[in-house]
């Protein structure tokens, strides 16, 4: 039977496709991808695939035998196990000595260190006084902000520990090695010799067990914000880690800049954005918001204002958690960009923070 456009919803599909054609990756994702590409390491893709395949084909068999206690205790679905408080149902976890073995997607919290985690597939975890040991599997972590001066929360893996001061990150631990992707905040990795490697947002740090305690790090470019298509080899001045922005652009833009002026403004704009990224990496979110607001007032283009406004809203909503301010910001934002690229996310945020 011939199907017409309406039966197939093609009109809606075409309309959606038209909207998607105007979309771009978020600035965070864009930065992350550019940094990964600049690190000239296509390995992360393969790295993600290899353990997945090995896990399912070979290790899965061995693990299922190794992890199965004999006799098998009944799965626990609702109660706390070894201090792990279930935060989502249904969950299936079994005790295995000092550790728990979780199958499937489960959410748990360890209230004492303020650590929340979600497993994917088979994972084995051991609670620690200051965090958790990930013995096997993949898990996402969110750590409550650590009070100033307090010791960091630790996620211990075979080759070291990820020390956290309040952040969001994903850890994969396999027989061959592991990795951590930092989404937000700041962590560092302390290997078995005590050597520390800092990880900043958008970076992945990997370790490989077969070649010993080697930290295999995907390093971002010296200037992750600089335009990657710049033909000039000279990069903008490298930013010292944690440097406070010396001078953000003042809110004054020439009415109609020439090509050279635009280039200068773009460079200044990107440099200022990089400073904002540094502030974010240090967890100095209110300062990052203020810097973004200054940038926003000096941004000549609608696209820049749209992106900056979105970043401000995300900081207010997610990192700072100032719901009234986030609500006001998103309301004004949606008025200014009613059909913007972030419309869907902003609409969702509005419902979340304004309720």
């Amino acid at each position: 039977m011939a199907l017409n456009d309406d039966e197939l919803g093609l009109e809606a599909l075409r309309a959606a496709d038209e909207r998607w054609s105007k979309a771009l990756p978020s600035s965070e994702a864009d930065l992350r991808i550019r940094a990964a590409l600049s690190a000239k390491r296509p390995a992360p893709l393969a790295y993600k695939l290899v353990p997945a395949m090995a896990f399912s084909l070979g290790l899965g068999v061995a693990l299922s035998a190794a992890l199965r206690p004999d006799p098998a205790p009944a799965p626990v679905t609702t109660r706390a196990v070894l201090g792990f408080q279930p935060s989502e149902e249904p969950c299936s976890a079994t005790e295995d000595g000092a550790a728990i073995v979780v199958r499937g997607a489960c959410g748990y919290s360890l209230p004492a260190p303020g650590l929340h985690l979600r497993t994917e597939g088979l994972a084995k975890l051991e609670p620690l006084p200051d965090g958790v040991r990930l013995l096997r599997g993949r898990a996402s972590f969110k750590v409550d902000k650590v009070a100033a001066g307090a010791p960091p929360v630790r996620v211990v893996v075979q080759r070291g520990a990820i020390e956290v001061l309040g952040t969001e990150f994903i850890v994969l631990e396999e027989a061959e090695g592991g990795q951590v992707d930092l989404l937000e905040g700041r962590i560092h990795f302390r290997d078995q010799s005590g050597e520390i490697t800092d990880v900043t947002p958008g970076r992945r740090l990997r370790w490989n067990n077969s070649t010993g305690p080697v930290i295999d790090e995907v390093t971002p470019p010296a200037d992750p914000i600089a335009p990657l298509n710049a033909s000039e080899p000279s990069a903008p001045p490298a930013r010292a880690k944690g440097r406070v922005p010396a001078a953000l652009p003042e809110p004054s833009a020439p009415p109609s800049p020439g090509p050279d002026d635009r280039a200068v403004n773009k460079a200044a704009f990107e440099a200022a954005l990089a400073e904002v990224a540094a502030l974010r990496a240090q967890g100095r979110y209110p300062e990052a918001v203020r810097a973004l607001e200054v940038l926003e007032t000096s941004a000549a283009g609608q696209r820049e204002r749209e992106v900056l406004g979105f970043e401000i809203g995300r900081l207010l909503e997610v990192q700072i958690g100032d719901r009234p301010r986030a609500c006001a910001h998103w309301t004004a934002y949606l008025r200014e960009f009613p059909a913007g690229r972030y419309q869907a996310q902003v609409a969702r945020s509005l419902r979340t923070v304004c309720d």
């Binding site: 809606a12 075409r14 309309a15 496709d17 590409l37 969110k142 298509n229």
Partner: protein, 203 residues
Amino acid sequence: MADLRKPEDRLGVKDAVDDVHPNVGPIAASPPDDAARVAEVARLYERHKAEVFRLALRYGAGRRDFAEDVLQDVFFRLFEALGRLEARTDLSRWLYRVTANVSISRIRREKVAAAASLSWLFGRSDRVQETPESLTSAHRELVMAEEILSELPAKERIAFCMHHLDGKELLEIGALIGHSKGYVSKLVARAETRVRKRRQKWR
């Protein structure tokens, strides 16, 4: 001048990188070293990210997280393939094909690990959960499109989009995703049936 080879000959292997096209592509000839490859991929990323992202959003049924992951994977593949691509390669076509295949793999992987949503943890669901009151006409269309696409299995989704949104012929789709014309015809037909049933439920 048209390329007289059959699409299958040019694109028979899913991730083949030898699809020379008469249009002069924007790829620099044989970047000599890693640094040059990095620079070249970075340049191509800036130039082509929008088109790849658009396709990935479509195949991900509007999910930004999916699209961003696909975008990264596609350009990693480009990095790996760059030395083997000819200067005359039609890069847009290459990216079109690789985006489709990367999306198929990712959709399948997600199905296997269906419970692996991180949105629970971070409170981030890029798929908007609309309430009836909040649905404007434009939003309704978007939500409908997302639901239509997310109903479809990986290959059906890609074949359906290529056929109905991009106007690709079945033979060409087969060449792009590595299947015969007959199989693609089945994929599209199955997708149409699913969509029609879904649409009937809404009415």
